[in-house]
Structures are given as structure tokens and as C-alpha cells.
């Protein structure tokens, strides 16, 4: 499949269906790959982007999951906050770009902020829904054996929703990875998104394609890593029935 795609790509660029500046040939992309790697720019951009996604993602997980757990357990909190959460969830994170730059200027911070805005709300909602749908029998058993307070939360509620939380993490990581490219196009001086932006400005579409390939492959790779979490023995039950 991949090979066929490459073949088609080579063929189209070979017969000059599109001008070379609009559709770079595989060979040109390969050479720009070499160039980007030898100058070290690609590696630098990859590290910058990964760092921003990781920081933004960790902040929203560390805040979002506990808030989701709490909201799932308190109906009044749900009634109070869900409309607001939904409102923000449907705001494209890109709409925050002007604020991000005004508040955080240039550098890592605006990108991290945008990643946070993109992933926080879906994570809270997914965790909350998962908690609210825990079968009541688990809480009855917990009551029989006197689980209370923080112990109830960490030993019953949290493990009961962990499979869904892992799924939510994978989904919101996907969002984060899409958003980082857009975020870096405006507020940054490096990163994969910035790389594409710069390639566009220099009309170097071969370099842009090379960056696109890296973005796609990295996204897939990290999702594979997150998928490994679903193989943990304590969460397997959530995916096997």
C-alpha cells in the first residue's frame, strides 16, 4: 500500500502533472531530509515540539483528571460546570492564538497554553462521564468493606475509570499533536509547525513535505506508546468485554 502510494507519487511528479514547486518529487523530499538532518534543524524542531506537547499535555492531565473525577461524583458540580465546559470544548483552540501571544508572548509558553486549551476540556468531560457511569455495584461493595474518602477515590473510583481515561488520553493526545503544528506557526521560532511555515515562506515545499512526514510518523509512534498502557494487567478488563 505504502509502496503503491510512493509509486503513484513518483509517477505524478515524473509526468509533471503539477509544477515542481507545487508538488515536490520524492527525490527532492529525500534530499531535503538529508539536508535538514545534517544541519540538525529537524532534530531541534522535533525536540521543541515534543517538549511543548508533553508539558501542555501533562498539565492538562494532572489538572483535568482529578477535576473530572470530582465532577463525576458530584451532581451539582456537573450541573454547574458542564455547560461552561461544553462551551469551551467547542471553541477551536486556534481561536485562542491572539490571547496566547498577548499573554505569553513568543516561545514555548503560548504553544503550551494552546495545547492545554485543546486537551483540558475533553479530558475533564471524558473522565467525568466515565465516573458517572461506574456501575453502582462497585460502590455497594466498597461500602460493605468500608472504603471511604480518599481511599474510595484511589482504590475504587480511579481504577474503575482508568481504561476510559487511557482512551481519553489517546484521543486528546491526537488533538494536541494536531494543534501544536498550528500553534507553532505563529508564536514560535522553532518546532515542526514553524518548520512547515518557514518552508512555505521560502517556497520549499520539499522541506514542508519532509516535515509533514515526520509529524505523521511521530504522532503514530507516540500513539503506539500510549496504546501500550492498555496492556497493563490492571486495565485489560476494560478492553476485553
Amino acid at each position: 500500500m505504502l509502496f503503491g502510494f510512493l509509486l503513484l507519487w513518483s509517477f505524478i511528479s515524473y509526468v509533471d502533472l503539477f509544477p515542481a514547486y507545487a508538488l515536490p518529487s520524492p527525490k527532492a523530499v529525500f534530499y531535503s531530509f538529508q539536508e535538514e538532518l545534517t544541519t540538525g534543524r529537524l532534530i531541534n524542531d522535533v525536540i521543541a515540539s515534543l517538549w511543548r506537547v508533553a508539558v501542555g499535555f501533562v498539565i492538562s492531565a494532572v489538572l483535568g483528571i482529578p477535576i473530572g473525577l470530582w465532577m463525576g461524583q458530584h451532581r451539582y458540580a456537573r450541573q454547574a460546570f458542564v455547560p461552561m465546559l461544553n462551551f469551551f470544548r467547542f471553541l477551536s483552540p486556534l481561536a485562542w492564538i491572539p490571547f496566547a501571544i498577548l499573554w505569553f508572548h513568543i516561545g514555548d509558553k503560548p504553544a503550551v497554553f494552546l495545547i492545554f486549551m485543546a486537551t483540558f476540556f475533553p479530558l475533564v468531560l471524558a473522565t467525568m462521564v466515565a465516573v458517572a457511569s461506574i456501575p453502582s455495584i462497585y460502590f455497594r461493595v466498597a461500602q460493605d468493606y468500608h472504603y471511604k474518602g480518599i481511599e474510595l477515590l484511589t482504590k475504587v473510583t480511579f481504577p474503575a475509570v482508568l481504561p476510559q481515561i487511557i482512551t481519553a488520553l489517546r484521543v486528546s493526545y491526537g488533538i494536541a499533536w494536531v494543534v501544536i503544528v498550528a500553534a507553532e506557526m505563529v508564536g514560535c521560532q522553532d518546532g515542526l509547525g514553524y518548520g512547515i511555515w518557514e518552508a512555505r515562506n521560502g517556497l520549499r515545499l520539499d522541506a514542508a513535505v519532509c516535515y509533514m512526514i515526520v509529524i505523521g510518523l511521530l504522532g503514530m509512534g507516540i500513539d503506539r506508546l500510549l496504546a501500550q498502557l492498555t496492556k497493563l494487567p490492571g486495565v485489560r478488563w476494560g478492553y476485553e468485554r
Binding site: 460493605d144 468493606y145 468500608h146 494487567p233 486495565v235 478488563w237 468485554r241
Partner: protein, 247 residues
């Protein structure tokens, strides 16, 4: 363990309960004697589970009083085990009150041996059959210092043969670790094989319409005279025996 029973006490006095305008239980009184196996049977929807919830303290009656003493644990129909914990960890929940780790370890191994689940310690509930899962639940409620077991149709999700096996299993376990048991079922075979005393409940609002003592020693054969006789009487009481009876 004979001193165990002295602390168990379960008394309902003139208990009535309703959900909204639907009256479920009406003026029901019941004393469960220590060490006794009481089985409640009745038509579906008659309030058997409500009665258990009242006994366990999960809900409070609209009127009347419930007295309970001793540690009460419930075996549920299914999915009562925590799926994220292994067999060992699930059973250990029942041993939470034991502080001493070596004693807890010893108890756990005894319980695993008791339900013949050695070798399955590290398995998760979803890797076990329905019968095995219920055995683990039994081990969990029998663990440590429980006094009273409430059983809410614990075998009804199993196939017929497993159900027969589980009844024997329960009798064997209770022989080793006697407890006061209140067992709810719609299965009259089960009731006749297990009970010291069968209470037949009427349609909603439920009252006890028949009390039946079965003296024969357990384990009882399904074809045992006393069992068949008890089944006949329960069927009669439920109006299920003759084809002419209205349901």
C-alpha cells in the same frame, strides 16, 4: 468459630417500605437466628431485593425498625468482584481489617485452598468462568470476621449445572465456616436444598405468607424426600402447582 454466632443479630419489626406510591413491603416482621440459613422466595418483583437492602442497611424502611449486629456482607448476582484486581487481591478485600500481614497472608492461602482456586491467584475476574467468580466472591465474604451473609440470587447468572455445583460448594463452605445466612432466590430447588427455613413472600406489597422449616441434614440430594416435599409446598404456596391456578 462457635463464639461467632453470639454476635450476629438480624431483626425486622413491622417493616413497611414503598418507592414513591408503590408499596413494596407491608408490615413485615422477621427474626433471623444466629447460624441459621433463611431463604426468601417469592414471585419476581415482589420486593426480595428491597428486603435484602433493608437488612444490609443500604436503604432505610419507611416505617418499622431494623436491628442488626455483627459484620454483614453481601454476595451479589454478578460483577461483585472488582475487575481491576486479581483473585488474591479481591479476596484480600475481605481481610482488610486484619492488621498483621503474615496472618493475612495465611488466611488468604487458606481461603484460596478452601475454594479450590490455588493456581488462579494472579488471574483477573474476566479470565474466570462465572462459577469461579462466584466462588471468589464467597471466599471474600467468608474472609476475616464476617458474621452475616446476605445473598442476592448469587447463582442465578450461572448455567443449571454450575448452579447445582455451587449449591454443594456453599454448603461445604458454610460447614467449614458457619455464618448466619439470608439467601434470596426465585429458585425453589435452591431454597429447598439449602434452607433451614424457607420464607415464601406474597406478591407486592410483600408479606411472609408461609414459613417452612426443613430439618434434614445438608448436603441434601435434589431427589431427597424432604427436598421434594418442600418444593411441593412452596409451589403450592406460589400457586404454581396445578394447571388450573391463576398466575
Amino acid at each position: 468459630m462457635s463464639d461467632k454466632h453470639s454476635v450476629s443479630k438480624l431483626v425486622l419489626k413491622n417493616v413497611s417500605h414503598r418507592y414513591g406510591t408503590v408499596s413494596v413491603l407491608k408490615d413485615l416482621s422477621l427474626v433471623v437466628n444466629p447460624g441459621e440459613i433463611v431463604v426468601l422466595v417469592g414471585p419476581s418483583g415482589c420486593g426480595k431485593t428491597t428486603l435484602l437492602n433493608l437488612l444490609s442497611g443500604y436503604i432505610n424502611p419507611v416505617s418499622g425498625s431494623v436491628q442488626r449486629e455483627g459484620i454483614i456482607r453481601t454476595v451479589y448476582q454478578h460483577d461483585g468482584l472488582f475487575p481491576w484486581l486479581t483473585v488474591s487481591e479481591n479476596i484480600s478485600i475481605g481481610l482488610r481489617s486484619i492488621e498483621d500481614i503474615t496472618r493475612r497472608e495465611k488466611e488468604l492461602n487458606e481461603l484460596l485452598a478452601l475454594i479450590h482456586m490455588e493456581g488462579f491467584e494472579q488471574h483477573y475476574p474476566h479470565q474466570l468462568s462465572g462459577g469461579m467468580r462466584q466462588r471468589v466472591e464467597l471466599a471474600r465474604v467468608l474472609a476475616g470476621d464476617s458474621d452475616i451473609l446476605l445473598m442476592d440470587e448469587p447463582f442465578s447468572a450461572l448455567d443449571y449445572q454450575s448452579r447445582l455445583r455451587m449449591r454443594r460448594e456453599l454448603v461445604r463452605l458454610l460447614e467449614k465456616r458457619p455464618r448466619t445466612v439470608v439467601f434470596v432466590t426465585h429458585d425453589i430447588e435452591e431454597a429447598s436444598q439449602l434452607a433451614d427455613r424457607v420464607l415464601v413472600l406474597s406478591k407486592r406489597p410483600a408479606t411472609i405468607c408461609r414459613e417452612l422449616h426443613i430439618q434434614t441434614k445438608r448436603p441434601r440430594d435434589l431427589a431427597d424426600h424432604a427436598v421434594i416435599d418442600a418444593m411441593k409446598q412452596i409451589l403450592n404456596e406460589l400457586g404454581l402447582n396445578s394447571p388450573d391456578t391463576d398466575l
